[in-house]
Amino acid sequence: MPVPKVPDKGSVTRRGFGVLRVAIWEEPGIFALSVLASMLYGGMTVAGGWALGWSTDHVIRPAFESGETTTGAIVTLISLFLGIAILNAIGVVGRRLGAGVMQFRLQATYRNRVTRQYLKLPLEWHHQHSTGMLLSNANADVESTWFVIAPLPMAIGVIAMLVFATIAMFAADVWLALVGCLVFPLVFIANVIFQRYLQPLATRAQQLRADVSEVAHESFDGALVVKTLGREAAETERFRGPTNALRDANIAVNKARGMFDPVIDGLPRLGVLAVLLVGVGRVRSGGADAGDVVQVAFLFTLIGFPIRALGWVLGELPRSVVGWDRVQRVLTATGGMEYGEARLTSTKAARLQVAGVRFGYLPERDVLAGMDFTIEPGRTVAVVGPTGAGKSTLTTLLTRLVDPEQGAVKVDGVDLRDLARDELAGSVALVAQTAFLFDDTIRGNITLGGDYSDDDVWEALRIAQGDGFVKALPEGLDTKVGERGTTLSGGQRQRIALARALVRRPRLLILDDATSAVDPQVEARILAGLRSAVHDDAGAATTVLVIAYRKATISLADEVLFMDDGRILAHGTHTELQSSTPAYRDLVDAYENDAERRLEEAELDLDAEGATA
């Protein structure tokens, strides 16, 4: 059976039922089980009313009137009510557990699918969507799509319950049943009106909660500016606006609840009174027994609450549809990289060729416009250029995070697009500007699950100048770094990211300002270590391409690529470029000032560290 299609157009309710169909199609077994349990619950609830009516006529009244009863009658009473209660409890547990299993399974399934898409879709797609939105697609949106599953089995059970109840009422007495036929639809309609009325109010409160949070985030992020300019009172006034709006929205929601709750509660109560009134008339005319009256009245009491489940399902449908649409935007996105069959077999330093490469994130604007250069194996090359020259974009092309629109990037003469999947990662390692760490141990962050000995890891850390601080940690390599490495300083994170690349002994190493947060002295040691590490006994084992922002970094390079506006403007040694290219000279002089500034960069960090020590 194909996946049921959720209609693109139509009312929210119609589309919502489409989502429910998908849910049932995904989990038919557990859905059937929970509906069966729920029907048992519905049946037993009605049976409770029937049992009271039956025992009133057949056990209780005779006993009261005759002044005597039998053990058999008492045993019947006990087993009847206990039996119904036990079956009812089984129904309740089955229904709730089934709904839970179904809801959480659906969540898990869709989270798996969404995250698989994240891993599959190209990096360009990622760049087009904000982090916050992607995280909420995989979490909050999936959750809100399937919230509606929680009350779904109960609602279906309630429908069964209403059918049973109607039958039981008609079996008892037609007139009493007619009262029921008047009251139950009224309760249902009141529920639907309530949910429809409440939905926009609840959405507004939700929106205002986000507003409050936004002001708080921004204001606390700028706390220092607020303090230094003495704007605390003004900021508080700014916060007061959304806070008071949220207060009013919450009061409006409560008012709606306060208005509808007594109506939805009160209707069955009025129904009971009507049943009593009509019932007395029917008993007088001989059309019904006292037991019939009691049974119908008791049914009203029992059904008043469960009937709300129908309203819950209808009320959740809009949220479910919104969540579904947002999740579908991810699931139906297309794209992904094609891979070839080629392998890289060399164990020596790689040769890198960039031939006629053109690339732009937006169609009308090229970030890289016709780049041509070759880096010979074992060379260390510094890429220098002003902000926005396209340096970081170049690194993403070299590691095939994106493909060029024209031209080709080749390693050892092989076009990256012809390489087999995962083949490039075996030869090329990129260390990016911001070090991303996984919520894992330091070892895990360096090996990334690869098969490396502790000696290899320590050696990589030594070159990255990270062995010292890792050794000082109580659990060494087994220290957990926390989510995104929050327990470490920026410089420490960068050194781990560097070790991650070095442990792989890449044949081409690409550093994109990968040491920006470490002390200049430490950086100098890293660069020196790198220089000796990439030269093995037989000569250079690694080709290095480094995006340079400091004169000291440039001094490490054998040659310099000077670029601006997505083009290579000059290619040669530092000395050559200094005399041949005035723009290069100006830029490097600016870096010189920058280097001085960075000397003092760790100051604030250290002050703060002293404070928490």
Binding site: I60, L276, Y549
Partner: protein, 598 residues
Amino acid sequence: MSAAEASRLDHGDNAGGLQTLKDGLKVSPELGRGWGLTGILALTMTAGRIVVPIAVQQTIDKGLSGPNGPDMSYVAWMCLVCALGVILTAGASYLTTVRLAINSESGLATMRIKAFRHVHDLPVLTQSTERRGALVSRVTSDVDTVSQFLQFGGFIFIVSLGQMALATVVMFFYSWQLALVVLLCFIPLFASLKYLQRAMSAAYGVVRAKVGEMLSAISEPVVGAQVVRSYAIEKRTQDRIDASIEDYRKTATKAQAITGLTFSIGGLAAGLANAGVLTVGVLLGVDKQATLGELLAFMFLVSLFSDPVQIATQVLTDARSAFAGWRRVLGVIATPADVVDPGEDGVKQARGPITVEFNHVDFAYPEGELVLRDVNARIAPHRRVAVVGETGSGKTTFAKLLTRLMDPTSGAVRLDGVDAREISFESLRERVVMVPQDGYLFDASLAENVRFGRPEVTDAELVTAFESLGLTDWLESLPDGLQSPVGQRGESLSAGERQLVALVRANIADPDLLVLDEATSAVDPGTEVRVNAALERLMAGRTSVTIAHRLSTAEAADEVLVFDDGKIVERGPHAELVGAGGVYTQLHDSWIAQRSAV
């Protein structure tokens, strides 16, 4: 108050229930208002719930079994009275909910605003980046938890408790024997409530932890997309995500199972009570100790009794987290703000040339060693001072004390001879302005950002402020001029342009003493020239203290203060210090060495 107390964020963990209530009422007086009428309305509302059982009893005993057969008119009258009762109590119910909602929401809003304000009064250290997330939750999700709890269970539960109490009274009125039977049948449930609730809290605690782990795992392919791709670890990443999703699914299902069990136990207790009441009731009826109506009314009363008990475990669990949230917010408000505004009592200083003095100033961060030790300094009006020193030497601390972002542990900082602690914030912030390294920009227009310190200035004055710093051409190069949006955190501008905005902002504030923390981030050469020129003009005619990260800044200053290990070890103009062979000479040498590394 010790400094150690100040650094901590009070979580209020130790406060008892009663203390929390007391503190809460003090923060939000609205919570204590109008309880007399609300109480009466709530009582009326619960009374409405027992109308039905009484009507049933009356109908059976008096209506159906009247001396002359069923008594139609009696039942009609009674039903009419009862119906009026139901409608009246529905009105009372509405009024109760609305009154409770208005009081509690107003109280929560007041608390939210007070907490927000207090966060801004907290020491800079407490506002540090790593705590910011926690602080935001105090004024957002923690308050929302309380509000949501009240909306989705709190009010109902309070009323339900009244309903149970009233049902018990009516039961004892009809028959004490049957009432005892009902209570007896519910005892096992009451006994297990505490245990079930604990199990549920524990289960949901695990669920919350697993949600956190899952979110962290899910964020990896999003935030770390580049690393995942370039190291080809898609498989490993997916495995980690799958495992965390599966973990969460299992724990959430388990928690759901416990909830389901709790609900079914409530139903079982009700079934047991029904069977017990009927059995004992029939035996009593045989002895003429109970009427049929009373017995049947009991069946209706039992359901009034069992419904609240069934939701109790869930509500109690929610109540616990709501209460914890409330305590956390109150905890923030209770956290001492060490730098206190003397307010109305404070000294209001005249504007004009300013003299700064440090007298025997010590400073230590809470539980830390001294960062500044016996610092003495006097900065004369209109002097341009550069503060230099190695990482951790205490020069940033010096600037924070100067601007009263912190107070000295001992000793005093004086402005024109007055202890900074005695000057009203209004006067102090008018005279002393600090330009931090990264001037934070708000997601608003350029104009709104530069007039942040003084919202009253006109657009014309803003243009003059740009002009006086030599930034007219830059302003004109922006597409929308003053109205250009700067984006979140000013991300539409480059780092250098953000510095320019921070300088204009300081220019608008027009202080007597300017404290600058020189920015260290990379700036493109063109903007660099602009920043330097603007700085030069901003410092003209003012006393200025710059935490210098550049040799050129120290060279250009009238005077250099050299910090080493928390002390001022040298002071004087660059020309004197550079050849003195001290700390400054060393710093200078290492700068030169770094510079000529190529």
